[in-house]
């Protein structure tokens, strides 16, 4: 077999192992390890590489942002900020038709501004908002569906762990990516609220009424969310202004949310232990996949597959938009069974060189930012599509009286909203790039 063929065959092998329930990181590590051995014809290169690769990968300064953002999210879930956010959103939006569900989405968006993970956002806001939604007579499908969808805002609105990984893989500026994701993130929240408004009109009886809150109560609730605003502004503003590096920003954010949790009594020794355990499990999971991907991508580079594929696609006389469509469809299909981070690590080394040689009428860097945000949204759709949508599972497990099928059906309108938004973002790159162009 030629090296190129080895590269091609490694893909079905890898997928086979993954479907046999071998951890994704391990599958990539093993295929990459033995693949490099076959391609180079000797054990020496891969064994020599393994001497320093583990340490080099885990000590990367740009990756150190990931455990810090995860710790920040853990502190945020313990700091009572989710209650304050939901309360504020509820007093302003709750009296509308479907308003409590809109408030849940709005609170998710706010929480996403201090938490970089979808699962944590869904789980934290679910605990706060689900009882309220049920109390005001929202149907099980709508209540769990809107929270599962709202959770995806956690990763779309910066800070975002997946965007950090994308930035490292494609050598892009992290803060520009964060800026690019900002407007699409706000659009996502608005789109979900519109979806709710349409849903409750098409399905009367799926939502109850809540009394209008007075302006004194509204302002009081709004004041209570000041820590979230301060931390978000400090972290994102500080990084943008060049006052600190993204890693330093993450440390400041973690310290800030930690302080809030300490003042609100959520950070006892026990709470700290739980926060660290949660951070440890997520960090271990992410970095093990990153390590596996590093070995696998090293093998792919040896096999020349990414370059050859990119050349082949460039020489085919097909429309770049068609190629983009095929890539996004791949993500939608894979997203049904795989988590977003593994998908990004597995596919970006192959897809990005392909997209980079295509002409979308955008300069190279802008194309990379735009593609990154669109891919992020597409892989996030996977979190709320059956059969393996992690957010659906997380929220559904909190509502024992709602059958999983109801949660599936409740999430579908939001998937539709996502697909419409993806189409809009592809048609008008300026929505994604406008803020970046304005600021730089």
């Amino acid at each position: 077999m030629t090296s190129l063929e080895l590269g091609v065959w490694s893909f079905p092998l890898l997928l086979g192992m993954i479907f046999l329930r071998i951890p994704i990181g391990l599958a990539m590590l093993m295929v990459g390890f033995f693949g490099t051995w076959l391609v180079t014809g000797s054990w020496t290169p891969i064994l020599a590489q393994m001497k320093s690769l583990t340490y080099d990968t885990f000590s990367s300064y740009s990756l150190s942002i990931v455990p810090l953002f995860l710790l920040m999210g853990q502190f945020a879930t313990r700091g009572g900020m989710s209650q304050a956010l939901f309360k504020a959103a509820e007093t302003w939006l709750g009296h509308r038709k479907g308003g409590v569900a809109m408030a849940a989405v709005g609170a998710c968006a706010g929480f996403g501004a201090i938490c970089g993970s979808s699962l944590a956002t869904a789980a934290t806001m679910g605990q706060v908002a689900l009882p309220e939604l049920r109390r005001y007579g929202y149907s099980g499908a709508l209540a769990t569906g809107c929270l599962a969808a709202g959770g995806t805002l956690g990763i779309l609105i910066p800070p975002s762990v997946v965007l950090v990984i994308y930035a490292i893989l494609t050598e892009q500026n992290i803060i520009k990516l964060f800026m690019a994701a900002m407007v699409p993130g706000v659009l996502a929240a608005l789109g979900y609220m519109i979806t709710i408004a349409v849903y409750v009109r098409l399905k009367p009886g799926s939502a109850g009424q809540r009394a209008r809150a007075g302006y004194r109560e509204r302002l009081g609730a709004l004041v209570a969310v000041w820590p979230v605003l301060v931390i978000f502004t400090l972290v994102i503003g500080g990084i943008y202004a060049g006052f600190f590096t993204p890693t330093e920003g993450a440390a400041v954010g973690a310290a800030g949310t930690g302080l809030v949790a300490l003042f609100n009594g959520g950070l006892t020794w026990r709470g700290l232990g739980e926060a660290i355990t949660g951070t440890a499990i997520s960090t271990g999971m992410i970095f093990f996949i990153v390590l596996g991907a590093a070995v696998y991508n090293g093998f792919l580079a040896f096999s020349q597959l990414p370059q050859e594929t990119a050349n082949m696609v460039a020489n085919m006389a097909v429309s770049p938009w068609l190629v983009l469509l095929v890539i996004l469809l791949c993500y939608l299909v894979f997203g049904c069974v795989m988590d977003s981070l593994s998908m990004i690590l597995l596919t970006i080394p192959i897809f990005f060189p392909i997209v980079a040689v295509l002409d979308f009428g955008l300069p190279g860097e802008e194309m990379a930012l735009w593609f990154g945000v669109i891919v992020l949204i597409v892989v996030e759709v996977g979190l709320i599509t059956p059969p393996v949508g992690m957010n659906l599972f997380v929220i559904n497990s909190m509502a024992p009286d709602v059958p999983l099928v109801r949660t599936y059906s409740g999430a579908l309108p939001f998937v539709l909203s996502d697909i419409i938004r993806i189409a809009i973002l592809i048609a008008f790159p300026v929505i994604t790039l406008g803020l970046v162009r304005l600021l730089y």
Binding site: I281, S282, M338, M390
Partner: protein, 175 residues
Amino acid sequence: MRSGLDRLIERIAFWTAMAGGAALVVVLLLTVVSIVGRSLIFAGLGPIPGDFELVEAGTAFAVLAFLPICQFHRGHVTVDLFLSRAGRRPNALIDAAANLLMTAAAAVLTWRLFLGMLDKRSYGETTFILQFPIWWSYAAALLGAAVFTLVCAYTVLRSLVESRAGQPAPKTGPR
């Protein structure tokens, strides 16, 4: 019905993770202090010298120290699509096989990391600013790698016991 061994391994994984967590908190505080120092240069203060190097060494130690608890609590991402209806016994056996492979990978990783440490020591490589020997960071990271291998080996045993007892494997998944 947990065995004493199970509790012991969990304790080891937990305290290793706590050591990593302590390192992460130190990285966090050090970074914040460094930023404050840098912004007060006019007052005669300054950033902590070599803060980047300390962040890198601390993160590497923390991440490796986090791997054991991730393995113990079944935190690694798997795709559970085709085998979910295959019954408990076959699934526990597949878990045992996957954990065995994981143990092999962890052992290779630890072995290579150890040799990497010996290399760095014999070259006398140091960091750029603080000039501390890099092999110290490797040695610290080895702790997590060794515990990771130990916990992996235990999870093979655990899956085998689960396959015989036919008890449901608790699903925790990624958090």
